[in-house]
Amino acid sequence: MGSEGLPTAPPIPFQDAAKVSLANAQLRRNMGKATRTIRGKRELVVAEMPDWEGLREAGRAIKERTIRHLDRALIQLEASVQQAGGQVHWARDAEEARKIVADVAKSHDVKAVIKVKSLTTDEIGLNAELEAAGIEVTETDLAELIVQLAGDRSSHILVPAIHKNRSEIRELFREKLGAENLSDEPKELARVAREHLRKKFLTTTMAVSGANFAIAETGTVCVVESEGNGRMCLTLPNVLVSVMGIEKVIPEWNDLEVFMQLLPRSSTAERMNPYTSFWTGVTPGDGPQEFHLILLDNGRTRALADPHGRESLYCIRCSACLNICPVYERTGGHAYNSVYPGPIGAILTPLLVGEQNAPSLPYASSLCGACYEVCPVKINIPEILIHLRGKVVRHKQDQEGLRGRLDPEGLAMKLLAWTFREPGRFETAQRLGRIGQWPLVKNGTIEHLPGPVADWSAMRDLVPVPEQSFREWWRTRT
């Protein structure tokens, strides 16, 4: 992984990175407990909605319509924001976006910025860039602060420190915030963080945020949060820069009603989240007097160009798919090597950076389909995973020369497919399997498999191919 939150070349394959976290019993316990709790709560608050399926359909329809006419919605948004006194910047990639933020900071000669929790700024690797320019960056979301103080990476899109438990956090605060005699009571941990942050809120003159939604009609930007730190950042400083992915635009105020019901229930399992902030450009004498909106592409138009992958841009970053995913629950987020982990990350990351730069991610799923069931905008994650697996294989076959064409897995798959094309060949293969398995069968079972399937027998026995196939039996009947 480079300085950005997205892989720029194939990182450590998921299956290898996962080995580390799978062997970490503490992490498994933290993750299991946290995801079980949140998905149980989500189920309850979703069940009480009589029109949940209708809401999902509506949310999906709004996103589908907007993404189809994304160009128009964005130009309308730009005009509305400008009319309300804001400045709009277009950023093709992470580097351009980082530079815009840094330039704004330099133009005001600020030495420090405070941040609202934002995946998009993590995606572009903003903190490192600002720090390199001598600007102190403070994350103000509690979990994001924990991750920042620990020099760690986020492992969940909503709960970045989900992999840490409270005693680990206590130790961190003792060390980094000088809070001696601290207990691991959540209330006390929050108090220490609050005291640390309060000083920053009152002295810092520039803030950086992301955006959950931006309304094209009015130019209003919206951030949905729980702790109130966002509200502080969005109202106290003089200068505000918001970085948003171009897919976050929605056409009208009325559309928000749908998402305001879908998002809190799906993400924090709340009927309503505690703080929802809206701002439209600049209001003289009230709040930031200078507002910049950065519209970020960074691979989104690449995803948009894929007719099967496109719907991944409907994502409202609720994290319900992470919490329900049996793979994510066990591996944690770091194994995905992307700012977007879990099922949505396994499709979004390869779509943003190109499948050849994240080829193991589409395989990081058993295709159980639980993510699709809970997605508030009905993104068919399993089918997109399969679609992307196809792209990974076709890239290997068509663009990696002889090495790609001679890949052992590919050759085996081709041979098998050739076998299945004719029932005669298939039956011969059945017989060969039955005869050829004799060195492997001991006491009526197979405990060791060779070569690429050896991993099967690492922890599982295998039944041998029986004496008579079904078709052979059927023939004896007729």
Partner: protein, 270 residues
């Protein structure tokens, strides 16, 4: 569509009035590795009065290739499946994931093949392809198939049966009607067992971590056998139970439903 009938012991069960000509899609995997499941499907459907045929030309639906990314390689298998079953009145299979492939992924495969004629044929065939339990309960309206299976059983709903085909509680309805059965609920039943086709090999560590939790739930039920509607998941679950010498077996739903306690073929899962 159903009427009551009685077996030789005077036990009453519902019997479909409509007799169908059923084409079996046994699947390459069951054909090769678990022929007893195929034989059970034949026994069961014939006992219910239907005519069963097994088109000998059938091989593989292409699911493994398609889901692993070898989609161009799967296209000839999609064509082959359509050729073999084109004329079938109804196709029934004891594998939820293979039926899921045909019903949900064949349209995309035909699109990838850029073959409108294939797409048309897929559309015509799709609605006639059923997984065994959804066919029995949903299509034939049968729940009591006259089975006898005096064992403690727990049922694992496979992901594809549950979330792709949405068979709902059809398998449980069938099991509840089995005489002698001691059916115990599996804790956290709807969670994936970790098989996932080539996932079990490509991501074997994660697969095992998921399986570990599934085994804990299965063992907690004190069941003698774990039953499911797909032998692939069962091979994964059963393989680990066997490795651990847990003394708990696995059995396909069809084999329990075919069991009457009177036939040589009746297998008691171990």
């Amino acid at each position: 569509m159903t009427a009551l009938a009685a077996d030789s012991d005077g036990h009453v069960f519902s019997q479909p009035v409509l007799f169908m000509r059923i084409s079996l899609f046994i699947t390459c995997f069951n054909d090769t590795m678990f022929p007893e499941t195929g034989r059970a499907v034949v026994r069961l459907l014939e006992r219910l009065g239907h005519t069963v045929e097994f088109p000998m030309g059938q091989t593989c639906c292409g699911q493994m290739h398609y889901n692993t990314g070898y989609q161009r390689e799967a296209i000839p298998l999609v064509r082959h499946f359509v050729d073999v079953f084109r004329e079938a009145e109804v196709v029934v299979s004891p594998s939820a994931s293979c039926v899921g492939m045909v019903r949900h992924l064949y349209p995309a495969a035909a699109e990838l093949a850029n073959d409108p004629k294939l797409a048309e044929e897929v559309e015509a065939l799709r609605p006639r392809v059923f997984e065994l339990s959804e066919f029995l309960v949903g299509k034939l309206g049968v729940e009591d198939v006259g089975a006898y299976y005096p064992h403690r059983v727990t049922y694992h709903p496979t992901c594809h049966s549950l979330r792709m085909l949405k068979v709902g509680d059809a398998p449980l309805r069938l099991l509840r009607a089995v005489r002698g059965i001691d059916l115990v609920e599996l804790p956290q039943a709807t969670e994936c067992c970790g098989f996932g086709g080539t996932f079990a090999v490509k991501n074997s560590d994660t697969s095992m971590a998921m399986l570990g939790d599934k085994l804990r739930c299965v063992l907690e039920t004190k069941a003698e056998v774990c039953c499911s509607a797909d032998n692939s998941c069962l091979m994964h679950i059963g393989g680990a139970l066997h490795r651990q010498r847990a003394g708990v077996g696995t059995i396909h739903l069809a084999e329990i439903l075919a069991s009457t306690g009177t036939e040589t073929e009746d297998r008691h899962g171990l």
